[in-house]
Amino acid sequence: MNLSEVTERISRKLEAKGAQPDRQKIESRLRRLAEEFGVNIDEAERTVTADLAREYNLTGVGNVGNASTELRPISEIVPGDWVTIEGKIVALTPALSPSIAQSGIVADSSGAIRFVTWTRANAPAMEYGHWYRIESAVVDEYKGTPNLKIHSGTTISRMEKDAPLLPSVTPVAELKPGVGSVRAKVIQDWEVSHERMLQTGLLGDETGTIKFVIWKEDGAGPSGGTGPAAPKEPLGKDKLELDAVYNIFYATVDEYNGRLSLALNTAMYITDEGDIEVGRNESEIQGALVHVAPGSGLIKRCPVEGCNRTLSRQNYCPVHEIQPNFRYDLRLKAVLDDGIRAHNVLMQREIVEKLAGITLDEAVAIAETNPLGMDEIFYRIRNAVLGRYYTCAGSEFGGRLLVNSCTPITFKPEELAALLNRAGGEAA
């Protein structure tokens, strides 16, 4: 890298802020740092830029982190970096605020990142499907997701290049907030919970499952063919079909309360021939059952097809109102604590029946004749399980383990022997 290139970049940055720097002065300062003091070029650039910005009383010019014109693969950039990348615009999303000119996803062969162009940057609009060189953009973190910010100091140039991009697919269990491509099967199609939702459900591959959402888009009509050759302004997405396998490229991975979900509005998806054996990410926890939560024991459920919600004591369903022809059910909401972490667990009828030694029919009979009613069942189940040690296996969902099997832990003499050795070995 030569000094005049760096000089040019510093001047442009300062000029963009309305200053008229003297190029010779910049270059001589750079030379002094680089040659006399052996400072590396990146650091010299940072120092000179910051010094001059201070002299001209400018803010927002300084470089934090690495300033670099060196081309970087998108997969390697992290929040705090100043970067230069070359990438293809693979998605454009509606700007959510007037201070944002453009937002979307830019990708290269290594990966993809979300970007935002500030209105104040006065940057040329980038077009969907074209390649651009983006110099001196800054990466920051927004809601836990890396985001490329295009500001007034960023230079954008369109490239005469059209290399086909084949995004690398990430196993569902390894997705991180940001942008992700997956090959996954639609295993559940849920009722939408919001009028702006087109579809929501569960996707899975061999490694695990993740919730997905497709939002309705403004002006979405009956959509034409999407797929790999997505239209320039993708209007309205197609729904996914239950049990079909899709290659989904450049979906947005969001995090909320520690849970990830995929928004497919930025993505293109094409069906795939094969099938996938979906992994249930079974996990196993051992610990003491330290809390039985309200809502455990005998409960009533809404009988309306597909509802199944828990009714209040007055048989009120939050959706279907009073339901006198409810169904009884048994469940246990509890906390299994291994001394390091407290895990929420949820057990369904068969498991509760075994654990508490009471069947649903017996429980109903007791509740209908006992003065304490359903509370009596709560107390019986609580007394049977509280304070005891269990091994629970199941799938983790929404911060709660949905238990498939639960067995009491039994005393093993060899464990006692091992602990005696461990405690005695070093103390003696």
Binding site: Y389, L420, A423
Partner: protein
């Protein structure tokens, strides 16, 4: 990355009576009125909830206006003092139903008191108590031995254990001996 809004329940630490009895240092994590209060256990970990299993040997009802129950729970190393008042009506009524002697499992919050003659006492405010069996007691001794040894192995490497070193001058070998002695009382 930590989700800011997700509430995480505090785990219940396993601790032997003789270690809890030595606990003297208590602090509040944060300035807020509702910030949790922790004790630092001598083996080097903060705790605002503990899980104990032992024999309830004694139970007493006290107070006229504000009824509360006191109890003693014995493990292989010593005695826990437990109490449940009318602020925890469920726990209080559970305790009221149990006739000593009985094996009990207790989940509760450790509390420090200074008596009139200047002694420091640790008691456990019961969140829940239930009758269990001897097997559960034995499992708890193993569990507590394991977790205590884990803490001792990590002693000096964590912030909490450095604090414990400063406050108590903990000698890990003393606690290894306590663990060993507790284990020898479990019958094969």
């Amino acid at each position: 990355m930590k989700p800011q809004s997700a509430f995480e329940r505090e785990p219940a630490r396993r601790v032997f009576a003789s270690e809890l009895r030595e606990t003297r240092y208590q602090f509040k994590d944060g300035e807020d009125e509702k910030s949790p209060t922790y004790v630092i256990l001598p083996s080097g970990i903060r705790s605002n909830r503990i899980f104990i299993v032992g024999t309830l040997t004694e139970k007493q009802r006290q107070g006229d206006q504000n009824i509360f129950y006191r109890g003693r729970v014995v493990d292989p190393t010593g005695t826990f003092f437990i109490m449940a008042g009318s602020y925890q009506p469920e726990a209080m009524q559970q305790l009221a139903r149990i006739e000593p002697p009985a094996f009990v499992a207790v989940v509760g919050k450790p509390n420090l008191y200074t008596t009139q003659d200047g002694n420091c006492l640790v008691s456990v405010r019961v969140e829940s108590i239930s009758v269990v069996d001897r097997d559960t007691r034995d499992l708890w001794v193993l569990d507590t031995a394991r977790e205590t040894l884990d803490r001792l192995d990590a002693f000096g490497t964590t912030e909490d254990s450095r604090k414990a070193q400063e406050e108590y001058g903990t000698q890990p070998d003393v606690y290894r001996k306590i663990v060993y002695d507790a284990l020898t009382q479990v019958q094969l």
